[in-house]
């Protein structure tokens, strides 16, 4: 699929916030609109979220993107779909406690650090 940069895209929506919660954010861009329609600006300022096609370069993957606004401005969020499921009590969960050793890159060095694992407050 070709890049979407430099090509006009039509935002789809507004979409419910729950749709964005079915995704994990990959990248976030701050948008500086050159020109923006008044109704779209007001809609974003009111908390609406729109879905839009966004590919920074030609790609075989078509990850969705969302446009939203908050008190800081307007943002474009590129996302990756996630699959959540409702689980019941009798649903089996296969557990492998061992995490990949590459995930614990610093594990060997714990002997040199503090043993406080309560974390801090912001």
């Amino acid at each position: 699929m070709p890049t979407t940069l430099g090509r006009p895209q039509r935002p789809i929506g507004p979409v419910p916030a729950d749709e964005l919660l079915e995704h994990a954010v990959l990248k976030a861009y701050f948008l500086l609109p050159v020109v923006i329609a008044r109704d779209l600006h007001d809609s974003l300022a009111g908390g609406d979220i729109y879905r839009v096609a966004f590919r920074s370069r030609a790609s075989v993957v078509d990850n969705p993107a969302f446009i939203l606004g908050n008190g800081s401005g307007i943002f474009l969020i590129q996302c990756q779909p996630c699959i959540f499921e409702f689980i019941r009590l009798d649903q089996p969960v296969l557990v492998d406690d061992e995490t990949d050793d590459e995930d614990e890159l610093w594990d060997d060095w714990q002997m040199h650090g503090s043993t406080d694992v309560t974390g801090g407050e912001q």
Binding site: G47, S72, I77, L89, V93, D108, W109, Q122
Partner: protein, 238 residues
């Protein structure tokens, strides 16, 4: 078999339990297969030993021409008994300049300037994981509408919280029902108020955690979202 982490969570009643986190992002990752459709898996293999690694060869052959001739004639870079074997589980060790194992190294953080020169060095600070704490976690009680959370934070990671026994299921179902009714998310974190950053792995990044719960009939869905940063622009960019 799913690889998963554990997290110690508190519920609105102040009770806590250690439950499982399933990384949901993995379910949509691209999978590779060979020409016959069989799944491809990664295997770690031995490339060189301490006697055949480049540093050892450079030490043995000080003249590059001698090294080149030796590589062509004798294959000193290959240990015929070891090279290409699968490693199995590995322990990471640190070596000194002579290739000898260091048993109690002092790891330091060296900082370099744009010119490539070392500016300073200091003891490495270790920031441990804090998702399974010895102290009981705290229910923050900070409920936020879902729409407000998605418009304020970049939720870069998501884990489905699951049970491993019936008691844990009841515990998670209670939290999910509590959050489903007001259609809100609760902030989950460290510290005395339960709003501090979450650190999933040692020296890993700090995240702001949000728990989203839903109930449908006799099933529930509890998801821990991790926000890597706020959707805000630094003042100098404005």
């Amino acid at each position: 078999m799913i690889r998963m982490r554990r997290i110690r969570l508190a519920d609105p009643r102040g009770r806590d339990a250690t439950v499982l986190l399933v990384p949901v992002g993995e379910s949509v990752k691209q999978r590779y297969q060979d020409t016959e459709g069989r799944p491809v898996r990664n295997v770690r293999r031995i490339r060189a030993t301490s006697d055949t690694c480049p540093d050892a060869l450079f030490a043995r052959y000080s003249d590059p021409d001698d090294l080149a001739r030796a590589l062509i004639s004798g294959d000193p870079e290959i240990d015929m008994e070891t090279t290409g074997r699968t490693t199995g589980p590995c322990d990471r060790v640190h070596l000194d300049g002579n290739g000898q194992v260091q048993y109690a190294p002092s790891v330091v953080e060296a900082r370099f300037g744009p010119d490539g020169l070392e500016k300073d060095r200091r003891a490495l600070s270790v920031r441990p994981s804090n998702i399974v704490t010895p102290a009981p976690p705290v229910w923050s009680g900070l409920l936020l509408p879902r729409a407000e959370v998605v418009r304020s934070y970049a939720l870069t990671r998501a884990y489905q919280v699951v049970h491993s026994n019936a008691l844990e299921y009841d515990f998670l179902l209670g939290i999910a029902a509590y959050l489903d009714e007001p259609q809100s998310m609760v902030q989950v974190g460290s510290g005395r108020r339960g709003v501090g950053p979450l650190i999933l792995e040692c020296n890993g990044p700090r995240y702001r955690g949000f728990l989203d719960g839903r109930v449908r009939d006799d099933a529930m869905r509890l998801v821990l979202y991790l926000g890597a940063f706020e959707l805000a622009v630094p003042d100098e960019r404005l």
